[in-house]
């Protein structure tokens, strides 16, 4: 499997614990990282569209009572597997970095 792009992984991560709409995904990414690390709206929707095409996520049937136009996205089984595989790949990279003393325990 080729590594996921950072944005794809960010979106998978954002949807891992609950279904979210577009704005919610951006806010989640912002909260997790620095505010200016969030993707532009257009870039995110391009990613959402392609990820739907690849079967990584799908529309949820959850409806926002405040705004019906907001559609919620949720991970598919395949999306969850990809997210997990990517996490493992990253984890192995971190382990490797530690063993080469790039990272020390607890820091960074």
């Amino acid at each position: 499997m080729t590594p996921l792009t950072p944005l794809t992984f960010d979106i998978l991560l954002a949807l891992a614990d609950e279904d979210r709409h577009g704005y919610g995904i951006i806010k989640e990414i912002e909260d997790r990282s620095r505010a200016d690390a969030a993707p532009s709206t257009g870039a995110m929707y391009l990613a959402l569209k392609r990820m739907q095409g690849e079967g990584l996520l799908e529309l949820s049937d959850r409806v926002d009572p405040a705004d019906a136009r907001r559609r919620y996205y949720r991970l598919t089984e395949m999306g969850r597997i990809h997210a997990e595989l990517e996490s493992r790949r990253l984890e192995s990279l971190v382990v490797a970095a530690r063993s080469k003393r790039l990272l020390t325990e607890g820091a960074g």
Binding site: G22, Y23, G42, L46, K49, R70
Partner: protein, 890 residues
């Protein structure tokens, strides 16, 4: 703003995705745009969102193609993608070049987008009326009075309504907005009101959103005091009351019934119209002389479907001929004409917009020439790369394409940036001057502006891309490669192209700077005109003495007198006087004039009327030239007296003394005519603008021709700052319920009367400065390039003993030749187009002709100076080169 731009970009999504993604993505952008962000962050965010939207659109299209394309198409798309990616990388490798090209282009495109937005609002956006192409303005003409598009007399208008078959209906409105005072619990409120005929809304074809419009019967007195209100007034005054229809609003000394509410944004005929009321003419007026003499209604008609303007005009003329015969006293030589309503409404700004469109057009060509130049210079650096690519088998077509994709990319980014600059420009424009047809259209960046920007961006890209592309690929491959890989010459041909471009830039800069120079002269001339009064230190406040508490003439006059006395008793106030209308702020009514000693053929065709008191002339420092001003001898019951201005004396009493003569305001006085004795002559005040000669004017005596609404003009000792509060205080002490309509600083009135010229001056100066900068950069570039090409030669010359000064002079001479060609072409261009130029520019100019030699010489000198400076810098650098190292560089 950002939401709107992203919205436009997303409108380019493929059909299938548009409905789905666009709304959703937009709502996210909207929400994100409301989050707080500091200045630079905001800009970064906006840029990121636009770029993201572009990527989304491009990505969606690519996905769609990938899904549906044939193999041939797929290959083409793949090649294009490669080209774009390659172009992007190339540009990123050389960010200095890319940024300057994009910046210059964005400037040019931004200026065009901004001015085109204004032009769009004036010339193309439909008037917000039903089937507005059938609406025509009907005006009266009279060669005796010099009338070309006069307002109509009500009786004539009513006859057109009945007799001109081509008109489905005729209506009209007053061009002056009345300041209407109404009272709320916490004090008086003043709103703008427009007086209209009963069929006004019907003929325009605009229906109220609530209630009804007027009926034609309501044009006449005795059919109910009814008003229609604007959407804004409904919100502000009635608190959006859903049951407002049938409620009343108090003004004109009585309750007025609200019968309808107009749609949001409808303010025709003036931007400050908040309320419409009908003329309420006395039905008896139909047969009175004044009804055919007073030209007070701006008439407009709706043509019957399929009827041509020529037919309507012909029928109108037949009716006017009949009226001339039937009513010689009022209709002698009175004609009428029609023109499309839009043309009529934009007639005042047409020239201005055309001049600006021309100016930004030139600026864009200049910007393109500049970018083409940059590309050529850069292309020369790439000669070797391209020769190499051709040698290993790249076809000429492919390379041209590659280069064009690069320029398209620059043009694309430049256009988007230009659009952003343009919308900022539009905001600046509207802040300094209201644009759009007053009360009817506003500025908007709509699809047409977008299409225009895209079109000019694309043509710009082609324009500056094709020249270097052709130049670069036309050389034979071998010699360039054999050239020892210097790759810096581009051959003599390349330099020739660059020179031609720079000469073009100089020529265009000359024309633009000349335009700015002429406006500077115009503005200076206008400022030096004596307006006929001293505006410094004067303020004016317009107020109304309400009939609810001051019932009759004596009470009103007592109020005026007490007010003037109280004002003048104030320590900071030198003097105060009242006048019906401020100078340099337009005119009100006019009439004919006849002295009792004149024969039947002699008549004064037009005098303006204003009401004033003696204190007014002293306060504004307009001199009394002969006779006397109003005084105690001219009370309300005494014989009627007037003061006239110098223009009236010269025009209608040449070689005689007007003082002591008696005049009436009729062509043929009747026993009912009022006779006025001329008691004095005062200096002229410019009524409309310093550009327009003062017109003949009569001042009525405030105590005799009294009225309730007036301006009080006050002169303070020095600064104007504290004066308005003092006037408010005095009025407040006398009566806290006195409504103040408007306050003005007379210096601002003076400035405002030149606002149009100042506006044009500012814009043209900016364009001229940009043009100068771009042209200087061009000259710098061409000299620098020549210097680089001749490093070796310079080295040899200096090794052989040439002095630095000789080298510098040689290089400057070379730059100067290019500049001289540009200047000659520019001057020739101006001379050749003199007639066209004059017809466009003349209406904007004052005191200077479009071909003013002094301005031309100044501009040429300025450009030459800048050009010498721009070529001196690189020339000097070339001359400090160490001869040995420059030779060794080979």
């Amino acid at each position: 703003m950002i939401v709107r731009i992203v919205g436009w970009i997303l409108a380019l999504l493929p059909e299938a995705e548009r409905s789905q993604i666009r709304d959703e993505a937009l709502s996210v952008v909207r929400q994100r745009a409301t989050e707080p962000r500091a200045g630079p962050r905001r800009a970064m965010f906006a840029g990121g969102e636009m770029w993201g939207a572009l990527r989304l659109v491009a990505g969606a299209h690519i996905d769609r193609w990938n899904g549906t394309t044939t193999r041939g198409e797929a290959r083409m798309i793949e090649t294009t993608r490669q080209d774009v990616r390659f172009a992007w990388r190339t540009l990123r490798r050389n960010p200095g070049f890319a940024l300057s090209a994009i910046g210059v282009l964005a400037l040019g495109i931004g200026a065009n987008a901004a001015i085109f937005t204004a032009a769009n609002a004036f010339f193309f956006s439909p008037l917000p009326f039903e089937d507005s192409g059938r609406l025509v303005t009907v005006f009266e003409t009279n060669p005796d009075f010099g009338w070309e598009d006069a307002t109509a007399a009500p009786a004539n208008l009513l006859d057109w309504r009945e007799e001109v078959g081509a008109f489905a209906d005729v209506s009209g409105y007053s061009e002056f907005t009345s300041q209407i005072t109404t009272f709320q619990a916490d004090g008086p409120v003043v709103v703008g009101g427009s007086m209209v005929l009963g069929n006004f809304f019907d003929v325009l074809g605009v229906a109220p959103v609530m209630g009804r419009g007027f009926t034609m019967d309501e044009t006449w007195q005795g059919n109910g005091d009814v008003v229609v209100i604007s959407h804004a007034l409904w919100l502000d005054y009635f608190g959006a009351d859903p049951d407002v229809v049938g409620k009343t609003i108090e003004f004109n000394g009585g309750p007025q019934e609200v019968v309808g509410v107009m749609p949001q944004g409808f303010h025709f005929p003036t931007a400050d119209t908040q309320l419409w009321f009908t003329n309420r003419w006395d039905p008896a007026a139909r047969t009175q002389v004044w009804f055919r003499r007073a030209h007070i209604v701006r008439a407009f008609a709706r043509l019957e479907p399929e009827v041509s303007h020529e037919t309507a005009q012909a029928q109108l003329e037949v009716v006017m001929d009949r009226l001339e015969e039937a009513y010689p006293g009022t209709n002698t030589r009175m004609g009428a004409g029609i023109m499309p309503m839009r043309d009529f409404l934009v007639r005042g700004v047409r020239t201005q917009i055309l001049v600006l469109l021309g100016a930004v057009g030139l600026l864009l060509v200049l910007a393109c020439a500049n970018v083409a130049n940059l590309m050529l210079v850069r292309a020369n650096d790439r000669t070797r790369e391209i020769a190499l690519r051709r040698a290993i088998g790249a076809g000429r077509g492919r390379i041209v394409r590659q280069l064009l994709v690069e320029s398209a990319l620059i043009a694309g980014v430049g256009s988007v940036l230009g659009l952003v600059l343009g919308s900022a420009g539009v905001r600046l424009l509207t802040a300094s001057q209201p644009l759009g047809i007053e009360g009817a259209t506003a500025l908007a960046l709509d699809g047409r502006v977008l299409a225009f920007t895209a079109a000019i961006g694309l043509s710009a890209g082609l324009f500056f891309g094709i020249v270097p592309a052709i130049r670069l690929t036309s050389d034979d491959v071998d010699p360039t490669l054999r050239d020892g890989g210097r790759g810096n010459s581009g051959g003599r041909g390349g330099l020739r192209t660059v020179r031609a471009l720079v000469a073009t830039e100089i020529a265009l800069a000359l024309v633009l700077t000349l335009g700015a120079g002429l406006m500077i002269r115009t503005f200076a001339e206008m400022r030096s005109v004596d307006p006929g009064f001293s505006p410094e230190g004067l303020v004016a406040v317009q107020f109304t003495v309400p009939s609810t508490r001051y019932q009759n003439r004596d009470e009103v006059l007592a109020f005026y007198n007490e007010m003037i006395e109280s004002l003048e008793a104030r320590p900071g106030i030198v003097s105060a006087g009242t006048v019906g209308q401020l100078p340099l702020a337009g005119t009100s009514w006019s009439s004919q004039l006849k002295a009792d000693t004149w024969g039947p053929d002699r008549v004064g065709y037009e005098v303006l009327h204003r009401r004033a008191d003696a204190d007014y002339f002293e306060t504004v420092e307009t001199p009394l030239l002969r006779g006397r001003l109003f005084d105690g001898r001219d009370g309300p019951e005494d014989p009627l007296v007037i003061v006239i201005n110098e223009a009236a004396a010269e025009q209608y009493f040449p070689g005689e003394d007007p003082v002591g003569q008696r005049v009436a305001y009729d062509r043929e006085p009747t026993p009912e005519s009022n006779w006025y004795e001329i008691i004095g002559i005062v200096g002229n005040q410019h009524q409309e603008s310093p550009k327009v000669e003062p017109r003949a004017e009569v001042f009525e005596n405030r105590d005799q021709d009294w009225g309730r609404s007036s301006w009080v003009v006050v002169r303070g000792g020095g600064e104007v700052d504290g004066l308005v509060p003092q006037i408010r205080e005095v009025l407040g002490e006398m009566d806290s319920m006195i409504p103040i309509a408007r306050t003005r600083v007379l210096r601002d009135v003076w400035r405002t009367s030149m606002a149009r010229e100042e506006f044009l001056l500012q814009l043209l100066s900016v364009f001229g400065a940009v043009a100068l900068a771009l042209a200087s950069v061009g000259v710098y570039g061409v000299t620098a390039q020549a210097a680089r090409r001749r490093t070796q030669e310079i080295g040899i010359r200096m090794a052989l003993g040439a002095a630095k000064e000789d080298v510098v002079r040689m290089m400057i001479r070379q730059g100067a030749a290019v500049v001289a060609v540009g200047l000659v072409v520019g001057v020739a261009l101006t001379m050749l187009t003199t007639t066209a130029l004059a017809s466009v520019l003349d209406p904007m100019l004052f005191g200077v002709r479009p071909t003013d030699p002094a301005t031309l010489v100044t501009v040429v000198a300025l450009l030459s100076g800048l050009a010498v400076l721009a070529s001196y810098l690189p020339a000097r650098r070339a001359a400090v080169v160490d001869p040995v190292s420059s030779l060794r560089a080979e």
